[in-house]
């Protein structure tokens, strides 16, 4: 009976959108998952920094994600961590794309 109820409830939750299910995520397993996302974001940030490509707000986002995690707001924390990780990857990719100097075409060398 309990099992059935739980199944039904979780299915319902699955159909609904992210924001609504905030409270249903509250347990240690989720906390660990979010912590993993935060760690991944920080690794991505460091990778970008290692090639001089870190963006301005990535570190702040990770800090904020940590604060949200400790408050138990897992959904918001996870979203922010994912966004920060994306910034880390993009910053790294950007810096690598600029490794070889391409002089702009409007500068006219003979």
């Amino acid at each position: 009976m309990h099992k059935k109820l739980a199944l039904l409830f979780s299915l319902l939750a699955g159909i609904l959108c992210a924001g609504i299910t905030t409270t249903s995520l509250a347990d240690e397993a989720s906390a660990a998952k979010v912590q993993k996302l935060i760690d991944a974001a920080d690794a991505a940030r460091k990778e970008a920094a290692s090639v001089g490509g870190e963006w301005r707000d990535t570190g702040k986002m990770i800090k904020k994600a940590k604060a949200l995690l400790s408050k138990g707001d897992y959904v918001a924390a996870a979203k922010l961590a994912n966004d920060a990780a994306k910034q880390g990857h993009l910053g790294y990719e950007q810096a690598m794309s600029q490794k070889t100097l391409k002089m702009p075409s409007y500068l006219h060398y003979e």
Partner: protein, 123 residues
């Protein structure tokens, strides 16, 4: 038993996060005049679209002149998708374009980008 239930809920939650992210985009893409009005706000917002930093829009206060004025968009971009691509990452078409890649770099969320496209498409 209780542990099991929690696990289920946790998984469901994770799925719903994913589902939520995929669902939002098409839902807003189809939106009408509300989206256009919201798109205008985002376009004017200095911390979001900030289009006016570089582009003129007829009737807008203190626009920049770095980039072409936003007029006759429908004749410049055959489809809405072309316009969206330009705002998403202008360096695809022109590698030297100084325009920030609003979509690629997540400067605007995909949902906000759709609203901006809806608005700019009317210009």
């Amino acid at each position: 038993m209780i542990g099991n239930t929690k696990k289920w809920i946790g998984t469901a939650g994770a799925i719903s996060i994913l589902a939520g992210q995929f669902l939002v985009t098409p839902a807003v893409f189809a939106a009408g005049s509300d989206a256009i009005e919201q798109g205008k706000k985002i376009a004017y917002d200095r911390k979001k679209g900030n289009c006016l930093a570089c582009h003129n829009i007829i009737g807008a206060p203190s626009p920049g002149n770095i980039a072409p004025a936003l007029v006759a968009m429908k004749s410049r971009y055959p489809t809405k998708a072309d316009l969206r691509m330009q705002i998403w990452d202008a360096t695809i078409k022109n590698p030297e374009s100084p325009m920030p890649p609003f979509g690629k770099h997540g400067i605007l969320s995909e949902a906000d980008l759709d609203k901006v496209v809806a608005y700019v498409w009317t210009l």
